[in-house]
């Protein structure tokens, strides 16, 4: 065996989400193989289905995948089930590609459970409020700091534009879509998903107030059809200039500022997600991170670590701008690169601010996270459709979540 390539001949199976980051890694793989002699079979499946596939694989225990990628909200579940391994020892043994200090700290911290590192962030983002500077100026509005102000601004925009422009647009589609955005309101109103003693907290008055406000502002000043808006519809509507505000992921900034698809380039202001109260249980900006994990069943954990640390290293992240650019890089070096500033300068500061305030508990991170999100999504959807009051809808979700938590 070649001393410089101790893992030559290893054959890694990697499961990743369809994402620009993945495209970048895929394109760079030959370099990795050349450097280490490790062959990588990269399988790409859509983000929405990857968890199912991964869990089936983990529970069958066949050790088919060495490295997998997923949202950090699953970490507690995976750890508890013993599906993934801590990386600290590996990092100590094979530190070559790993530069802990280079990761955006907020991102890396999400992958640490009980002091142990379980994942390497591949990409991350937060949420912020986007508003139309031109309209705000025209109608004499200032960027809202509270949700009440959001509602007022939305009202003004809708009325002053004679209903031509929606006051605000947000995701309404049932499930992770509406929960992802509504969660900002929940936290911002002083609510939370789960109490410290592990009970569902959606029955609280804060939660009800936040949902009531969320539903009301969308019903009254939102666009037609918002109840089925996902990330895409929401983004497109805003970038076509048909809405005065939106709250969504920071990556949306990249779309707003892309002249090949957007008609609001340069007209958008970015500001953190508002809060309604100062008695917050957590921030109203999200911290959404997707990391690489090493499977417990893997027979070649060291090679797997080499790959994971290589794929998330700053060199690769910077190179990826030339392949499949995206604003979700996790390396500070990449964030500060010229390329990044050129592309995403317009919202970079707001983005970094949001990340800094980002709430890693933004979505529930317990074992039953998915189910809780699903139940909450139904409640949001019901309130939005008016088929139940915010309070009743949440009460139902609360009961369901309690059941799920106790299962």
């Amino acid at each position: 065996e070649d001393a410089a390539q101790p893992y030559k001949g290893a054959h890694l199976a990697v499961l990743m989400e369809g994402h620009p980051t993945t495209d970048g890694i895929q394109a760079l793989l030959p370099e990795f193989t050349k450097a280490t002699g490790i062959e990588v079979d990269l399988e790409v499946v859509p983000e929405s289905d990857i968890t199912a596939k991964m869990l089936l694989e983990f529970s069958s225990g066949s050790g088919r995948y060495d490295v997998v990628q997923n949202n950090i909200i699953y970490i507690p579940g995976f750890v508890q089930a013993g599906y993934i391994v801590p990386l600290d020892d590996l990092a100590a043994k094979l530190p070559d590609n790993y530069d802990k200090a280079d990761f955006v700290p907020g991102y890396l911290n999400t992958s640490i459970v009980d002091g142990k590192l379980y994942g390497l962030p591949v990409y991350g983002e937060s949420t912020f409020l986007m508003y139309r500077k031109d309209l705000f100026e025209e109608y004499g509005l200032t960027p809202p700091k509270t949700f009440t102000e959001v509602a007022e601004a939305a009202k003004t925009i809708k009325e002053k534009s004679n209903g031509e422009i929606a006051g605000i647009t947000m995701r309404g589609a049932q499930g992770i879509q509406n929960v992802y955005v509504w969660a900002g309101w929940l936290w911002g109103y002083g609510g939370q998903f789960i109490t410290e003693d592990g009970k569902s907290a959606l029955g609280s008055d804060e939660a009800a107030a936040s949902l009531d406000a969320y539903a009301r502002v969308l019903r009254d000043y939102g666009p037609v059809g918002v109840a089925n808006f996902g990330w895409e519809e929401n983004r497109v509507l805003f970038q076509q200039g048909k809405a005065g505000m939106t709250m969504d992921a920071t990556v949306n900034g990249a779309f707003n500022e892309d002249p090949s698809i957007s008609s609001v380039v340069g007209k958008v202001g970015y500001t953190p997600v508002p809060v309604e109260t100062d008695k917050l249980k957590g921030g109203s900006s999200s911290l959404a991170v997707h990391s690489l994990y090493i499977a417990e069943a893997s027979q070649q954990k060291e090679a797997a670590w080499l790959f994971a640390s290589w794929a998330t290293a700053k060199e690769q992240q910077i190179k990826s701008f030339g392949i499949a650019p995206n604003s979700g890089v996790t390396s500070q070096a990449a964030l500060n690169s010229e390329e990044f500033n050129k592309r995403y300068g317009a919202f970079k500061d707001a983005m970094l601010a949001s990340i800094a305030r980002g709430n890693p508990q933004y979505l529930p991170t317990v074992e039953a996270a998915n189910e809780i999100i699903n139940n909450a999504g139904i409640a949001v959807s019901k309130a939005l459709a008016g088929s139940a009051s915010a309070k009743d809808a949440l009460a139902e979700a609360n009961a369901a979540n309690d059941a799920a938590l106790s299962r």
């Binding site: 369809g18 993945t22 499946v45 199912a52 225990g61 066949s62 090949s260 995206n326 979700g328």
Partner: protein
Amino acid sequence: MRRIAFWIALAILLLCVLFPLYWVVATSLKIQRDAFAMPPVWLFSPTWENYAKVLSNGVFIRAFLNSVIISLSASVISVGVGALVAYGLVAQDEAIKRQNEKFVLSLRIAPPLIFIIPTYFLAAQMKLLNNHWIIIGVYAFVNIPFAISLLITFFEDIPRELRDAAKVDGAREFTIFREIFLPVALGGIVATFILCVLFTWNEFFIALVLTGRDTQTLPVSITSFLTFQGVQWGPLMAAATLVMLPMLVLGMLVQGQVVRGMSLGSIKG
């Protein structure tokens, strides 16, 4: 008058069918901004960029080959086995036939959920997860009942006397099946085959769970354009168009084999 009504009806029909297709193809040829413009951009200079992107992607090409291999093999097996079973059943008494047909139809009822999880565990045990055969087998298992139910219908239209005559002429059952039933019911066989191919060609859920990197099929591969950060509409639609083309060609080719009134003139009365 009637002719005009016919052509108008046909035009409306084609419009309804083709509009979404037009949209898909047009989007694949548009740059992103035009794709979502409202009012729609009817005139645009096409870009081949999306196709170039899809075709330069080795994964897509491999998935294409996987899809071809898997859907053709599974469909050939399904129609082959289905036709044999259908032939056997058509020859039985009414009661036996119905009883079996009911059973066969009921096999189609189970949602994939029910068998996908057990199958996954089984395949994992047998280390077959990255193997073409497991997915071909599952697709055959899913499509055989379907093929049987349809082919019984088509075989039943074949006059009983033909089987009798062939028996008198010294044909074995299998020969009758091959020489008479298959050709005479060709229209039905072709329709069934097309549908089986389509089902497997487009099936997503089973493929997602049971395929691995080497066996991934197009519908799974295509969803890599549905990312956490949005749908890559241009490449997705280009890929969708590319996925559709071979099926349309296949449809046209095999449907050309069908002759109207194949069984005419075979019996009197």
